[in-house]
Symmetry: C2
Subunit: 364 residues, 2 copies
């Protein structure tokens, strides 16, 4: 297999443009790692779950291009998306006298990608980095678009940067080792792209959900490619989220409240987004933007994907509070991504009373 | 006085362009603060030395434009340019539920500017900020060009971002309260612009040094303006320091070794740069790029400005070591900014034996 034979999605951002390569076996494919910035050192950042499975393969492939390839394994989990972990990346870089040409490789899921990307954005004011996402969620969402961050004790992803990778390499083979719960969480972000941008893709997911859950490579390849294409299209028009890009947060406003209310890590991000999409669809419906049939169809698909469709009973006030301190809020006004009509989304506020109705109807 | 009557230098960086305003009394001039991004909250970040002198004036001026104006005073000094201090800025922003439109104002010298700029670059992946430099060094150098950073225990300015301010407001009146040693340190960066870019400006400094040391407003205004113009010209061609911009580091390679070798804070940055320029000129001379007359003239001017021209005796090996781990080094090769001919600079390596000669000749 040559790299040309793999699926490719191009992200068009002027001098920050890059390609996403999607295929099985890319970790071991020599050509997948050609043409990256040259350097004396590459640093693979991974975690204790993914590292033992795939770091050696990547190390071997990169050794053909970089005289020195270091690997740093972080503890696994959202709880470690902190300054202390970030600092441990800087420590390794400085202890090895890594210069500003050093290339970082993020091998793992969203947490590894976010923290490694932010480390690359800040180390010596910016070194190149490559995303090598190994979860479905990271392949279809977090590795694309240049959002990098760490968490602050008061809020998730509060400290970060928009910083684009040199390349994204999605080896679909890595999805075979994913726990079922994480596969479902990734499907939430795949499903998301239908209502906000492409109802034909929504139909395709509906028809191919069993193949996706069975991890059939052809189905996964198409789902990842189409998701990346839609995200690329949106991000290409609004890199720094001043407007349109916010539609990618469909389900994330309610989802954020669920994650914050339960304590981050209790539900997976994708699970909260799945349930959040049900709530956002309900809100769209109550505002007269979509009909009952759409809401029901979306809810059923989310349920079939193995995701929760009923939110935790945090109380209306807790939901409103967490949504008001969300990054997307402006001066305390909650901004919702609403569907109008299916296949298209917009960002707007909504009356508290309607939001409260949705919370009461969807959570128990 | 209207803002139009002040000196202005424009930094041309496409959608990141901004203006530098230079005059006495700008802190209290209403029009100096008009036309900035609107927000519900502004945060003034200052330090315990500058805050008591000027924060109230700025707070009053900003209150006309922002419903809420917060002030955070950091401890004064390079020792506090750390993650912990940065975190204290994030804490204030989050505790006050500041959204992503919040505007940060950096009121102080280089440390306040660097850390506030980096906080603005990272908070919610980027909020607007304004530089209000109150030291000569910050007015002519660190507030212009978008370099922001904090220190890492292993290295200075190792963690940071290129992030441009919305505006730079240089109130020359604040220079009247500057300790003499800091005035001299600022003059080092002013003098720097002569050899690397403009020998006519070098002549002007030579002829007006007494007026500058006496803090005559007209002389200070011209020195700040011309320095910013030269820096703007260089940065406009190379925002992210991939080439030309490195000439702004004239004197900084040797200077960095002095600071690192003595422990940061022992000498002021400008003092180390002053002495570093003497050493870089000596190296240029030994490479046949400039003549003795130039080196002597530069050395005398630096001395007259109240700056050291003899380096500390750290030993050749220590100098070489610190220069090799400098950010500007590539794979351990030291990059020097050399003068060739006066008024023009280039970046290149030099034989260790020549560098050692310079260290032995210039340090005791």
């Amino acid at each position: 297999m040559s790299l040309d034979a793999t699926l490719k999605v191009s992200i068009d951002l002027d001098d920050r443009s890059y390609d996403i390569h999607i295929a099985s076996g890319l970790l071991e494919l020599a050509s997948a790692w050609q043409g990256l910035p040259r350097a004396s050192t590459a640093l693979i950042v991974t975690n204790d779950t993914v590292g033992p499975l795939y770091a050696q393969q990547l190390q071997r492939s990169l050794s053909a291009h970089y005289p020195k390839v270091l690997t740093l394994s972080l503890p696994d989990g959202e709880a470690y998306k902190t300054w202390e972990t970030l600092q441990s990346i800087f420590d390794v870089l400085l202890q090895n006298a890594c210069d500003r040409k050093t290339v970082l490789f993020a091998l793992g899921g969203g947490v590894v990608g976010d923290i490694t990307g932010f480390a690359a954005a800040c180390y010596m004011r910016g070194v190149p980095f490559v995303q090598v996402p190994t979860t479905l969620l990271a392949q279809v969402d977090s590795s694309v678009g240049g959002k990098t961050a760490i968490n602050h004790p008061i809020g998730k992803n509060m400290i970060g940067a928009f910083y684009q990778p040199e390349r994204v390499v999605c080896d679909l083979h890595t999805l075979q080792s994913l726990p079922p719960r994480e596969l479902s969480a990734g499907l939430a972000e795949v499903i998301k792209y239908g209502p906000i941008a492409d109802m034909a893709f929504f139909d395709w997911i509906d028809n191919n959900l069993d193949a996706l859950l069975a991890r059939e490579p052809k189905a996964l390849a198409y789902a990842v490619k189409r998701s990346c294409e839609i995200k690329a299209h949106v991000v290409g028009q609004d890199e720094r989220e001043s407007g349109l890009r916010a539609i990618l947060n469909f389900g994330h406003t309610f989802g954020h409240a669920i994650e914050a209310g339960l304590g981050f890590g209790e539900w997976l991000h994708g699970e909260a987004v799945g349930c959040g999409m049900v709530m956002a669809a309900q809100l769209s419906q109550r505002l007269g933007l979509v009909d009952t049939a759409f809401t029901e169809r979306l809810t059923q698909l989310i349920q079939r994907a193995g995701l929760p469709t009923v939110g935790p009973d945090l109380g209306v006030e807790a939901y409103l509070h967490h949504m008001r301190v969300d990054k997307k809020a402006e001066a305390g006004d909650i901004r919702f991504v609403l569907i109008d009509p299916p296949g298209s989304a917009m960002v707007r506020g909504a009356p508290d009373v309607l939001v409260a109705e949705v919370i009461q109807a969807c959570c128990r």
